[in-house]
């Protein structure tokens, strides 16, 4: 490339560039800033006109108070359990099935794979009512099975895993077979360690989607004992309509977004690749 010289237009352009970035960045942070700031205010401060940018005295007890209004601690445990099991389930079924498609020849393979590809094109809302009915008939309404089991399979996950496993040389599997390894042991001890990055991509992606899922839990869960974090947040939202609960709503919102943010920061590289590979469904 042509070496850049420090002329006035170059400097002006650089200043403009960072100015635009800073303004856009401030806009991206604005809701988060206001959520955290407001979560530490008194209810008077947060609804005063004009509101102060920062609380005069940080009200840390808001975070404890919010647990009095909705069962946030219990919701956290539920969400962790549901999200954890769903992610492990998706990783397991997807990699196992992808392995089957990638490395074995069996009658009906192509038909079944077309079935997977077709399932990838079916949006969630089209199957919502039947899946609700099936879960109801199975007696899974208002329990963990109903929350978790419908989301332990992902057609896209199967597809992704198959693509990754196709790249693993067959000789590796044959060598293991000569050593007397069973087919499942090949999956467990050879395939799984080799597809770590793919698992991280699929896992971080599904963690965020499952943690944030709202519509399905809203349908399946009736009792507060089974609330996931978005459901607790939703019931806080109805309180938040009243001005005196506004600050608590913001504290609850802040608590709810932290886990997904942490997973994202820890696995950012894989997550970003996941987006580049596919796309989040909105």
């Amino acid at each position: 490339m042509v070496r850049r010289q420090l002329t006035v237009p170059t400097i002006a352009r650089a200043v403009l560039k960072y100015l635009v970035l800073a303004l856009a960045g401030a806009w991206m942070l604005l809701p988060f800033f206001w959520m955290f700031s407001g979560s530490l205010m008194t209810s008077k401060e947060v609804t005063s006109l004009p509101p102060p940018l920062l609380p005069a005295q940080p009200q840390w007890h808001n975070y404890a108070d919010v647990a009095q209004v909705v069962p946030l601690g219990r919701s956290y445990l539920n969400s962790l359990l549901v999200t954890g099991l769903a992610v492990v389930g998706i990783l397991f079924t997807s990699s196992l099935c992808g392995f089957g498609f990638a490395k074995y020849d069996f009658p009906g393979r192509n038909v079944l794979f077309v079935l997977v590809l077709a399932s990838m094109m079916i949006p969630f809302f089209v199957t919502l009512i039947p899946v609700f009915y099936i879960v109801k008939q199975l007696g899974w309404l208002n329990n963990y099975a109903g929350l978790i089991l419908p989301s332990v399979v992902s057609a896209y996950g199967i597809f992704l895993m198959r693509q990754f496993i196709l790249d693993i040389p067959d000789e590796l599997l044959d060598a293991a077979r000569i050593d007397g390894a069973s087919e499942f042991r090949i999956y467990w001890q050879i395939i799984l360690p080799l597809i770590g990055p793919a698992l991280a991509t699929l896992g971080s992606f599904n963690f965020v989607t499952t943690w944030n899922a709202f519509l399905w839990p809203l349908l399946v869960v009736q009792s507060r004992d089974l609330y996931t974090v978005p459901l607790a947040l939703n019931s806080l939202r109805t309180y938040g309509m009243m001005a005196q609960f506004q600050h608590l709503q913001m504290a609850g919102t802040a608590l709810s977004v932290i886990p997904a943010l942490l997973v994202f920061v820890a696995l950012q590289r894989y997550f970003v690749r996941g987006i580049a590979l596919t796309g989040l469904k909105g």
Partner: protein, 318 residues
């Protein structure tokens, strides 16, 4: 490739034995694919057939499925001729998708071009734009509903400081849908940026070097090199996001239900009602499963049509 001779095949001396062992491997394969395939059949393939079937019946989800009265295309006729809310929802959904995707297609490209220049702390800037993607749409909808509150919201405070007239935002039928679009633009712009960035980084540097040698200016380089080479990425982004946007639910639910006594959401005065929200209300508030599934089928048909266009365009490229 799958029929390739393996070491195991060569080392086995007798044909009958080999066949038996191969089928043993096929059995393992069935074992490996069956959990996922069965789950897909139960939770995706079966349900979509069921959706089509219910959409030509009248059903309240409680009566047994073998007693559903068949009504032919009555549900579809009702939706398209008598259900004003559905027609409104369909229109709002289209406006939402076209505006949201349109704005972000442009903003995302600008953002990616900016982030693709020589930049300090690029990952930091990129992270700022991705934060809203990993945040629950429900939480974001709530955060923005607070910011856009007409009485004590921060945005109106800012407008006041700038000497501009205060706006009713989500509480006005004229502005509410625009606010929802704005929230969606805010949430998904980072997603576009990441995909564009991947596309930009896939363009070989040689093209730019050659253009520089030929004396092309920035605008010419962008117009004749970057944009044509980004075409497949652009197409992918527009199609996948239109499909996603047509399914919007959480943001609308979070920002509009319960507002000013609107229990079913999509307010004020139906100005932000979208198809999936109306489907949800029809199915789980009024238990009209026939109509709700018919809505799902109509929206799915639209999405399917868009997918076909995508496949057609991708084939033309080859």
């Amino acid at each position: 490739m799958s029929n390739r001779l393996t070491v195991a095949d060569v080392t086995l001396p007798l044909a009958p034995v080999r066949r038996r062992l191969l089928s043993r491997r096929a059995l393992w394969a069935y074992l490996f694919v069956s959990p996922a395939i069965l789950a897909l059949l139960l939770f995706t393939v079966g349900p979509i057939l069921f959706t089509f079937w219910v959409s030509v019946h009248s059903w309240n989800i409680i009566e047994p499925i073998y007693q559903m009265p068949f009504v032919g295309l009555e549900n579809y006729r009702y939706l398209l001729t008598k259900d004003a809310v559905f027609v409104r929802a369909l229109r709002n959904t289209f406006v939402f998708a076209i505006c949201g995707v349109g704005i972000n297609t442009v903003l995302g490209l600008l953002g990616a071009l900016l982030l693709n220049t020589r930049l300090r702390a690029r990952v930091f800037w990129r992270t700022l734009f991705i934060l809203p993607i990993v945040t629950a749409p429900l939480a974001l909808g709530m955060m923005w509903a607070v910011l856009l509150n007409k009485n004590y919201g921060l945005v109106n405070t800012l407008l006041g400081l700038l000497g501009l007239p205060l706006q009713p935002f989500l509480s006005s039928p004229e502005q509410a849908l625009a606010c929802i679009i704005g929230i969606a633009v805010y949430q998904y712009v980072g997603y576009y940026i990441v995909i564009y960035l991947a596309g930009l980084q896939g363009i070989p540097q040689e093209y730019y070097d050659a253009a520089a040698v030929d004396g092309a200016n920035r605008w010419q380089t962008f117009w004749h090199i970057t944009l044509p080479l980004l075409r497949p990425v652009l197409l992918f982004i527009v199609v996948t996001n239109t499909i996603g946007a047509l399914q919007v639910f959480d943001i609308v639910f979070a920002a509009t239900t319960g507002l000013a006594g609107e229990t079913s959401g999509g307010g004020p005065a139906g100005s932000t009602m979208v198809v999936v929200l109306h489907m949800y209300n029809t199915a789980f508030k009024f238990f009209r499963m026939g109509r709700a599934t018919a809505m799902a089928v109509i929206l799915f048909a639209i999405i399917f049509f868009i997918t076909l266009i995508q496949l057609r365009l991708l084939q033309e490229r080859r």
